[in-house]
Amino acid sequence: MAFLWFHHILEQCTGEDAPLPRKARAWVCRKKHTFSAGFTTGPTPWRPRALRLYNDLGAFTILGSRSHPMSVPIELIVNGKSVAVDVEADTLLSSFLREHLRLTGTHVGCDTASCGACTVHVGGRAVKSCNVLVAQLNGLEVTTIEGITPRDGSLHPMQAAFKACHGLQCGFCTAGMIMSAIDLLEHRPHGTEEEIRAGLEGNLCRCTGYHNIVKAVAMAAKTMGS
């Protein structure tokens, strides 16, 4: 599932509006007090006031994961090349690509897996690289925007369509948008305009109003299909 529903929770479960005392935040931090968000759910250690955390910036911005993660040996294929490294258990694919492999074409635009700027292909399907651990991908194939770009200076048909249709402005969402669009066409090659719009639901663009992006994907559907 995608995401927790903080404000609903906040208002549903906090009777009081007083900010969570700092000590309580620290307690939360130290106890790693959380609510159930995985497969195992014991008696939920749910404490309504702890959800104040979300609005309690001092806590949520600075709470990191534990600082000494275990190293995990992994092997994966990135843009056709084998990569064998030890990564920390909590390394996100987006950080791995950007910081370890210096593939900075993949961008990070949010911390809630909402914007899709970090979209890459894993095993041929679009995923948000900010929402996957590298450790989860042992043996899989990862393709980024750098990986779909021809080496001869030309463009992938989707890239070419974005250029021809002016489907990008600032360029920050573009890589993720293109990776999503390629996946969309591979699985729905003859989509209607409505289907294209729905298929790009996971990617935010603040510049284009999506008008020319939709046009570009429709154009690419023709060029890639032919």
């Binding site: 549903q12 497969f39 639901e201 996971g202």
Partner: protein, 261 residues
């Protein structure tokens, strides 16, 4: 501080042992809720127990009476499964509307159910279709599985292995989006099952729940018009910046009606 560990068990037994031995470990199915929670500092597990190697949890099986979906089946796989599309099209359609395409490529049915997000889609289907949640220890009926906000009947260390859906007669799910998150502001699943008409709602309460008033009305007559005049009390429904409890209460019969249209 202790190290955050990563485990990739190769059997269900091993996964269960790991989960039981460390209550602060987090199971990773698709990770689509766990990882954002961690990033916001709401979750700091001691270890990840990644179920990716358990291929047997990805099976989809259908016979004349039931569809069984492995816990690690992604939403995208459910949405695209010819067996599910043939047997329970409403379920495939529901899966096709969860989150967004990228989330559907990673998120799993088991992860969604174990998380019991108050606005998740699958819980409505599980309740309305009267599904059975299979775990490594037992079978849990849909009724009683969702206990509250992010709370289920699963015991510590208990893992969902599959969900078994009886094939219904008519069934449909209608979701009204929360405009920002695109989770269900309210989602209503109506199903004609061997146990009678069942109506389940997500997004409106702490967890998914059934609506007796609508089930009664629709048991008398399974038609859109039967939803008219059914009024859902707003008490105990969610109020947040996106919708009041009254609005959610209002939407429930409206969406139920549309499910039948």
């Amino acid at each position: 501080m202790s190290a955050i560990a990563y485990h990739r068990p190769s059997s269900l037994t091993e996964a269960a042992e790991l989960a039981e031995s460390d209550p602060e470990a987090r199971i990773l199915a698709g990770g689509q809720s766990v990882l954002p929670s961690m990033k916001l500092g709401l979750l700091a597990p001691s270890a990840f127990i990644d179920l990716a190697a358990l291929g047997e949890l990805r099976a989809i099986r259908a016979d004349r009476k039931t569809v069984t979906i492995g816990a690690m089946t992604t939403h995208a796989a459910v949405a695209a499964s010819p067996q599910i599309i043939a047997a329970i099209p409403s379920l495939a359609k529901l899966a096709a509307g969860i989150g967004d395409p990228q989330v559907r490529n990673r998120g799993t049915i088991g992860g969604s159910l174990a998380n019991s997000d108050p606005a998740a889609d699958y819980p409505a289907a599980v309740l309305a279709l009267n599904a059975t949640v299979r775990t490594n220890r037992r079978s849990l009926p849909a009724d009683g599985f969702f206990k509250g906000l992010f709370e289920t009947a699963l015991a510590p260390g208990e893992l969902i292995t599959a969900v078994e859906f009886p094939i219904p007669g008519r069934a449909a799910y209608v979701k009204f989006h929360q405009p920002a998150s695109r989770f269900a502001l309210v989602g209503v699943f109506v199903a004609q099952t061997s146990a009678g008409v069942r109506v389940a709602v997500t997004g409106a309460g702490p967890c998914a729940f059934r609506v007796g008033a609508l089930e009664d009305a629709l048991s008398r007559r399974l038609a859109p018009e039967a939803c008219e005049g059914v009024s859902i009390p707003a008490e105990n429904l969610n109020t947040d910046i996106h919708a009041s409890a009254e609005y959610r209460a209002h939407l429930i019969p409206v969406l139920a009606r549309r499910a039948l249209a």
